[in-house]
Subunit: 628 residues, 2 copies
């Protein structure tokens, strides 16, 4: 099988709707606002409606050609209607954008690349001169954009089906979440979204050039989101694989995807990814800038970096990781660390700073960067260049000095109405996690926190998705808005397709655990629905409501593959005689058959026996040998 065939086959596979699921849309206030949900038809007639990140791929009616990208009509209108942008020729593509350094050697490769991506080229737009086109700018002017309404509808989902599961007041009180300071309303209104964006407590990463986007929000008072990293490295992988990983990532629940590609073909890889992505795409532009200077950090310049920002902004990247908080004076704080600097971008900039004996251009040109961000509505993801790379380095002065700087930069960005979130660690033992959240809230003025894990221990290579899901769930509960996934390959190699899935599922678990703990309205209903299905031995419903229906069914079927087992009142874990749920139902039926409520039946019986035992308690000592 050659590469394009494999590509097509994988994409076909990933388009299959989930079992018993159909794509459905919540209609917004305008005809072109249709917010996707996944409706799961249960065998008892209920329809469970779930948040859906998978985009048009899981809609069998959608015609998708990855060579021309996803449809753009709806959001393109929203951007156009605002009348504050202009189309323009855009920056000229040069061979260096795709790693072409040697005209003779690279010309054919790049011509081929461009030909294959011809259908993905769109004329870029930017803010008209003097205009600011960020969602934060509109929000602060009191404008509720279609993007904000979309987010509100998406966050709420179909609340109707959830009502049945609420239970009585006592149950609701018992199960009430503990928001730890978050302020999540019962219903998210478009106005609430606007207000959260205006005060910087949430962002809607939405480049005006990414019109394929289905908008989403990142903020403490919304559902906790997860990010999946994809991207080829110099050592391995291809464009096709990366696009497939994108579609695969959002299928399993990636809310945003970062393209961390390095090496050759980096510009065109990004065209493929952005044009085919319904979720926000983030990048770390310094990676491409470094490619342009042949990997020599010292040769980086503001001009090359700036050009790269514009290049990527024109392509439609929704957020940029910028390590502007790495100040020259902080580098020495890492000298005695166990693992030094572990952010790729951070280590590159540290090298530049030392070589030039200067403050980094990311810091000195920060307002210039803001100017670019607001011309396209690219959001900042202020990078934590000095995050700890081991538990030993957690919460040290290097880390917190940078965090305070990120707080200062947040205020600079906000002065320009540029949407901003803050990246966080990393490797942090459990008992040191809370301080990260507390310091971030304090110094960064409630800008959304976006953490990588954190990994709670260092000794689990091969299983760092688990070591970090623990930390991610905890910090998500404490208020982190988005959790960057970690795959089983972390520290070891580039994740493949299955690693990506493993990482995403682990992080969906962490994010969902956080939403439940925070008491996000509606978060628990899916748990209740699956628990009810479990108790009623509706096996198919149990599979289909789970985070990964395929695996749940596969595991069940390993030992009990027959269709009849899907109605069986047991599974192979305990077998029929020892199924507690089966026995519980028998207990209930038994009591009912006796014409007693359980309560009557049981209260009656207890008193005498209890009294008898209480009387014996403390009195008898019956040696084992004398017992009959």
């Amino acid at each position: 099988m050659n590469a394009p065939e494999k590509f097509q086959q994988l994409l076909t596979l990933s388009r299959e709707p989930f079992p018993a699921s159909s794509k459905s849309y919540i209609q917004g206030s305008r005809p072109d606002m249709r917010v996707p949900v996944r409706d799961v038809k249960l065998t008892n007639g209920e329809v469970a409606s779930l948040y859906d990140t998978s985009g048009p791929y899981t809609d069998p009616d959608a015609v998708i050609d990855v060579r021309s990208g996803l449809p753009t009509a709806a959001r393109a209108n929203w951007v156009m209607e605002r009348g504050d942008t202009e189309a323009y020729a855009g920056r000229e593509r040069v061979a260096l954008d795709d790693g072409g350094k040697h005209e003779d050697r690279d010309a054919a490769r790049i011509a081929q690349l461009r030909q294959e991506a011809a259908g993905l080229q769109r004329p870029p737009r930017r803010a008209r001169s003097g205009a600011n086109v960020t969602q934060m700018h509109y929000a602060r002017k009191g404008i509720v954009t279609p993007e904000m309404e979309y987010v509100a509808l998406r966050e709420n989902g179909r609340r109707e089906w959830m009502a049945d599961y609420l239970g009585d007041a006592a149950r609701q009180a018992r199960l009430k979440g503990n928001s730890l300071g978050a302020a999540i309303p019962q219903i998210i209104t478009p106005e609430f979204v606007r207000d959260e964006v205006a005060r910087g407590r949430a962002i809607i990463p939405a480049n005006i050039n990414h019109t394929e986007l289905e908008p989403m929000a990142i903020g403490r008072n919304f559902l906790v989101k997860i990010n999946a990293n994809i991207g080829n490295s110099a050592v391995t992988s291809s464009i096709e694989e990366e696009v497939e990983k994108l579609v695969w990532s959002i299928r399993w629940g990636g809310d945003t995807v970062m393209d961390l590609s390095t090496g050759k073909n980096i510009h065109t890889t990004r065209d493929w990814i952005v044009r085919n992505s319904p979720v926000p795409i983030g990048t770390v532009p310094i990676y491409q800038a470094l490619e342009k200077v042949g990997g020599v950090a010292e040769d980086l310049t503001w001009e090359i970096f700036r050009d790269t920002l514009i290049e990527q902004a024109e392509q439609g990247v929704d957020y940029f990781t910028i390590h502007a908080g790495l100040r020259l004076a902080f580098i020495h704080l890492t000298a005695n660390r166990m693992t030094g600097i572990v952010s790729r971008g951070g280590s590159i900039m540290a090298k530049w700073c030392i070589a030039h004996h200067k403050e980094s251009f990311l810091y000195t040109h920060f307002e210039d960067i803001c100017d670019i961000m607001k011309a396209y509505d690219v959001s900042f993801s202020l990078g934590d260049a000095l995050r700890p790379g081991s538990g030993a380095d957690a919460n040290d002065e290097a880390q917190f000095a940078e965090l305070r700087t990120l707080g200062e930069l947040t205020q600079v960005a906000w002065k320009h109405d540029v949407q901003t979130m803050i990246e966080g660690p990393g490797h942090v033992p459990m008992h040191m996690i809370q301080a990260n959240m507390t310091e971030q809230l304090k110094h960064c003025h409630e800008a959304p926190f976006y953490t990588l894990g954190p990994l709670t221990i260092d000794i689990a290579p091969g299983y760092d998705h688990i070591a970090s899901a623990i930390g991610a769930a905890m910090i998500g509960w404490m208020g982190t808005a988005m959790l960057c996934y970690v795959t089983p390959k972390e520290h070891l190699g580039l994740p493949d397709r299955d690693d990506v899935k493993q990482g995403i599922i682990a992080y969906k678990i962490a994010a969902h655990a956080a939403n439940v703990a925070k008491g996000h309205p509606g978060a628990r209903v899916r748990d209740d629905a699956i628990s009810k299905a479990r108790f009623e031995f509706r096996w198919h419903d149990q599979f289909n409501l789970s985070l990964d229906p395929d695996t749940a069914k596969e595991y069940h079927d390993e030992t009990l593959p027959k269709d009849s087992s899907k109605e069986a009142h047991f599974c192979s874990m305990c077998g029929p005689k020892f199924c507690s749920m089966k026995i519980t139902q028998e207990v209930r039926e038994f009591a009912a058959a006796k014409g007693l409520t359980e309560q009557d039946a049981l209260k009656a019986g207890m008193d005498e026996k209890s009294a008898e035992f209480q009387a014996r308690g403390g009195e008898f000592y019956i040696p084992i040998h004398s017992t009959p």
Copy 2:
């Protein structure tokens, strides 16, 4: 390949020592006290010494024949020396012990079973009349047993190699754990162990008939332990598989193993498991009792149950799960639950109670049970029959009513000097976990808590090892002494060999994260050693210090299989140009070459640039179009 060949092959596989590891022993105060550790030889000359649960299997010098069981000499002496036990004929084995209900049909099967297990039969011992042979009894009399000294040496491990990683005072202060009320001394002395056992805050599950045992402690002020469940169900699996799962479980770090077998061959399966186990074995005796009455819960009697307890105590089971806290009056509290009763033993006893309209014989005969326990030193694991089986049922009155009863029963057990731990949930959202620990400590007088997870969400079948590792890590930090693992097959089917490993690794992660957070002395050193190896690109050391060296190496080698890559200063995750650790080292070398300390170099550079930027901040607004 026929079954015995497969068995032998698997056992051979599991005996292979870990890479670069050798079994070593810490010598105790008497020649026959040799406490095993795993010494890992690092490529930089260090030797890392790790807690080792794997028993003689990973000692190439040990001659092991699974048909005659592990060597018993050392602990057999300790028991004999105390002079308070006697050998006796023991209860007569009957066909029913192995599910033989039909003489004609089952005779051949049982004869064959017994023949194969002939080498595993040992004459049982019990307390002399009137004697009490529990570790708690000795502890309360002020006696430090060899078992207690063994535990002390084992908990400390080789502290010598740990000293190098402590770092300076500032680092130690920053990384100090938060014990949340635990009182873990810097060095565990035999006297400390005695005191903890005497006050009931720790147990050493150690049946006098399990002389193959390498003693270990379960208590809040010791390392957090994990339990792995094995056991065939009626639907699947064989004796061979279960023994192999035992060896496999302790290889990966299982501190105790529960044999939850049901179905036929249950007595003989247990012979195989106990005789070949260096770790404590727990069971749920009601499972076998139910088999003896043909699966009809109503037909259970105290006499059958009592006989089963003695049968298993004679075989050497170290702890029994007894669901004595399930009182008749509590059953009705489960009537409106989402998932009713989800403990197998609990549901069986609930059915019995309803059918007979009586308090359960586990409760009414609790002191009779104590008499058996103390004659063999079987520890109680007081079962939480009413644990929640879904987040919806977490922390409800049924659960807490039972917990309070378990507290009462703990005091009854302690009156008999019977070692006792308390089982806990189950399914509990993150924000409701702390209440479980708080209530347990309060009502159960600091008896060790032993929880199943808890699972923080319900929607992750296929990944419940992860959903529950989150809860397990948290509750372990809060004070739970042992974490019962959950495998990926939970709710779906019987775990196979790989599921067992996945469950154990997830729980080693949770337990280690808890130990680090609690500040257990020495817990962090393995993290530091692996982090240092990581920073220094000692790939083999990084693999060999990890929880699963095989998988770490395999993942790394998927893309970079060559031996030369084991010295490479990058991996395929980021590639050579983007390896932050490589760049950090270049930064350090660069600064050194310039003859500057980093601190000098950096402080010098910062002032002017910083001042410049500060001056600009807030002043400039440079529209994108005018920027060059």
